[in-house]
């Protein structure tokens, strides 16, 4: 279906990444946001709380991040498109209920505008250290989807994609911004509502009497009923049977977990998204994401000007990771160079996917600033030797 024009601020704007993310959420049909505002993500909810009253949306400033995530899960079960917004310290506090969202198969979006960590770290300065936490930060085994924008324009575009993916796979989708993209102001073009595709909640057509909340008939997903529509059903974080009631058995656990993992892993080819350029005859491929991908392109240009054959691959979707593509490339390139604002998270994934066929060179940065392009160029040159 097409976006509701009421939520779409069509036109050319000069917006920061946080505002653009808020606009993307509203364009995607998000009408419920609960959060505990935290730097550098605060502007997302500032924007939303200012615009929601005109859209009939509800923003609740909650008492903390635990409650914020709980409210997002609850509101999603009324059929609403829901989101919360935070940064590292709040993201940690949300982990318990992110696991609940995963277990209950609740579509929702969690925006994390990453700052330097660990702990309270660098509130106003950039980091990319929450990448692994976004994947498996809550206990138990599950899969999520995570996206990473490199500009305010993508903060808008990819927020819409995040909501659509949450609906298609019934998962919490992690929107991994970083402080630099969040606080950077650039041109953002918001199209007409009719040019924006929106994935609606797929509601069951069964009668309340014949509906079971976790019965899977076709594909890998159960059908959805909204609380309040007369469907009496139960859902829980405990391992549950198709009726949604707890069942503590090995067999039921296998059904639950294999679905949570399988619905993402089996569809990874449709979910992964990356951009690549000049990789075909490259000796070295630089793999990056978010703000670091922009800085890394300068390093790629510089290395090419010195005669090196350097390709570039940018992760748009981080989780699931494009391991097939990395493995293919590993067969033809000598090395991967992976700059990221952490001490090596995606670099480990690249190394794993390369499976010993090519060498992986991380380019570490502890956070608080972006890499200097020269620091990346230097590693590219070493990797090319």
């Amino acid at each position: 279906m097409k976006a509701d024009p009421a939520g779409v601020l069509t036109g050319s704007h000069y917006l920061d990444g946080d505002f653009a993310c808020g606009e993307g959420a509203m364009a995607a049909g998000c009408r419920f946001v609960a959060g505990y505002p935290i730097t550098p993500s605060t502007e997302v909810v500032e924007r939303i709380s200012r615009r929601f009253p005109t859209l009939g949306g509800t923003f609740i400033q909650m008492e903390d991040e635990l409650a914020s995530m709980a409210a997002v899960v609850g509101a999603a079960w009324t059929g609403s498109k829901t989101m919360t917004v935070t940064s590292g310290p709040g993201f940690s506090l949300m982990m318990e209920n992110i696991g609940l969202a995963a277990m209950m198969e609740t579509p929702c979006v969690v925006v994390n505008v990453q700052r330097g960590g660990p702990s309270t770290g660098l509130p106003t300065m950039v980091g990319q250290g929450d990448v692994m936490q976004a994947r498996w930060g809550s206990h138990g085994d599950y899969e999520v989807i995570a996206l990473s924008p490199q500009s305010p324009q993508e903060a808008f575009d990819l927020t819409i994609d995040a909501f659509n993916l949450a609906e298609i796979y019934r998962v919490p989708v992690m929107f991994l911004m970083d402080e630099c993209v969040g606080h950077m102001t650039e041109k953002v073009v918001i199209p007409e509502a009719e040019a924006i595709e929106i994935e609606p909640r797929r509601l069951t057509e069964k009668s309340p009497e014949s509906f079971d909340p976790y019965q899977v008939e076709e594909g890998q997903l159960p059908e959805f009923a909204r609380a309040g529509d007369g469907y009496r059903f139960h859902t829980t974080g405990l391992t549950h049977d198709e009726h949604g009631y707890p069942e503590m058995s090995v067999e039921c656990q296998e059904v639950n977990v294999s679905r949570l993992v399988g619905k993402i892993r089996d569809n990874a080819d449709s979910i992964v998204r990356f951009e690549e350029e000049g990789v075909e005859d490259a000796d070295v491929v630089v793999v990056s994401y978010g703000i670091t991908a922009r800085v890394a392109r300068l390093a790629v240009e510089e290395a090419r000007s010195q005669g090196l054959k350097v390709g570039f691959l940018r992760l748009v979707v981080i989780w699931p990771f494009p391991e097939k593509r990395i493995r293919e490339l590993a067969g033809s390139v000598g090395a991967f160079v992976v700059p990221e604002i952490n001490y090596g998270q995606i670099a480990l994934e690249v190394e794993r996917a390369a499976a010993g066929q090519a060498v992986t060179w991380p380019v570490h940065h502890a956070g608080g600033a972006v890499h200097s392009p020269d620091a990346i160029t230097e590693i590219i040159i070493k990797a090319a030797v």
């Binding site: 050319s12 704007h13 000069y14 730097t39 550098p40 509130p123 106003t124 300065m125 630099c180 606080h183 950077m184 102001t185 650039e186 041109k187 703000i291 922009r294 800085v295 392109r297 300068l298 600033a369 972006v370 392009p373």
Partner: protein
């Protein structure tokens, strides 16, 4: 990184530093078909004392969003000048509030001063000092067409204040025409009467 113009705008909190940066960036990015990335300072320095915004303006995609050494330094407070004055490129342009900033002469740099606070006072609203400065900036740098800047002012200020702000913009622009700055800091200064309504 050729083809880039790096700009820093600084002043004290409340002078409208970020809005001034936003208007210049918007003029370039929305009304003049260029790329413009603005970053504003966050943290304690943005809460009362020296406040700063930086802009990178380019004809190609801005890959590195931070400035290294500005080509243009717009400064509206003495503290801002002390903090950032030394970064300005040797051949850079200094644009300053001449009653509040008393810059040192640097050979090769162009220095353009404007009594933007007094001009704003003459319009009856000190608050538009930053817009006078934006007008003066437009006149002395010629970074983008004046009309693009006017569109950006119109689209960035609160509804109902467009006329006042555009008047402030024109006053700054007019002052720049009369006193476009020199390559030393001894600026010849037209009297306020010449630019008053």
């Amino acid at each position: 990184m050729s083809g880039r113009t790096e700009i820093r705008i600084t002043g004290f909190g409340g002078q409208g530093v970020v809005l001034a940066g936003h208007i210049i960036g918007r003029a370039c990015a929305i009304h003049a078909g260029r790329q413009a990335t603005m970053i504003q300072s966050f943290g304690p320095e943005a809460r009362g004392s020296a406040c700063s915004a930086t802009l990178v303006v380019s004809d190609r995609e801005v890959l590195y969003p931070y400035i290294q050494r500005p080509d243009i330094f717009v400064v509206m407070s003495g503290e801002g000048y002390e903090k950032y004055g030394r970064e300005l490129k040797e051949e850079g342009t200094l644009v300053f509030e001449q009653d509040l900033v008393h810059p040192r002469t640097v050979e090769g740099q162009r220095a353009c001063g404007v009594p933007s606070t007094r001009i704003a006072e003459s319009l009856g609203r000190t608050i538009v000092q930053n817009i006078v400065m934006v007008g003066f900036f437009a006149g002395v740098t010629g970074l983008v067409a004046d009309e693009a800047m006017r569109d950006a002012v119109r689209g960035s200020v609160p509804a109902g204040t467009e006329d006042l702000n555009l008047e402030a913009f024109e006053k700054g622009l007019e002052y720049a025409r009369k006193s476009p700055g020199e390559s030393s800091v001894s600026v010849s200064e037209p009297s306020l009467e010449e630019v008053s309504p």
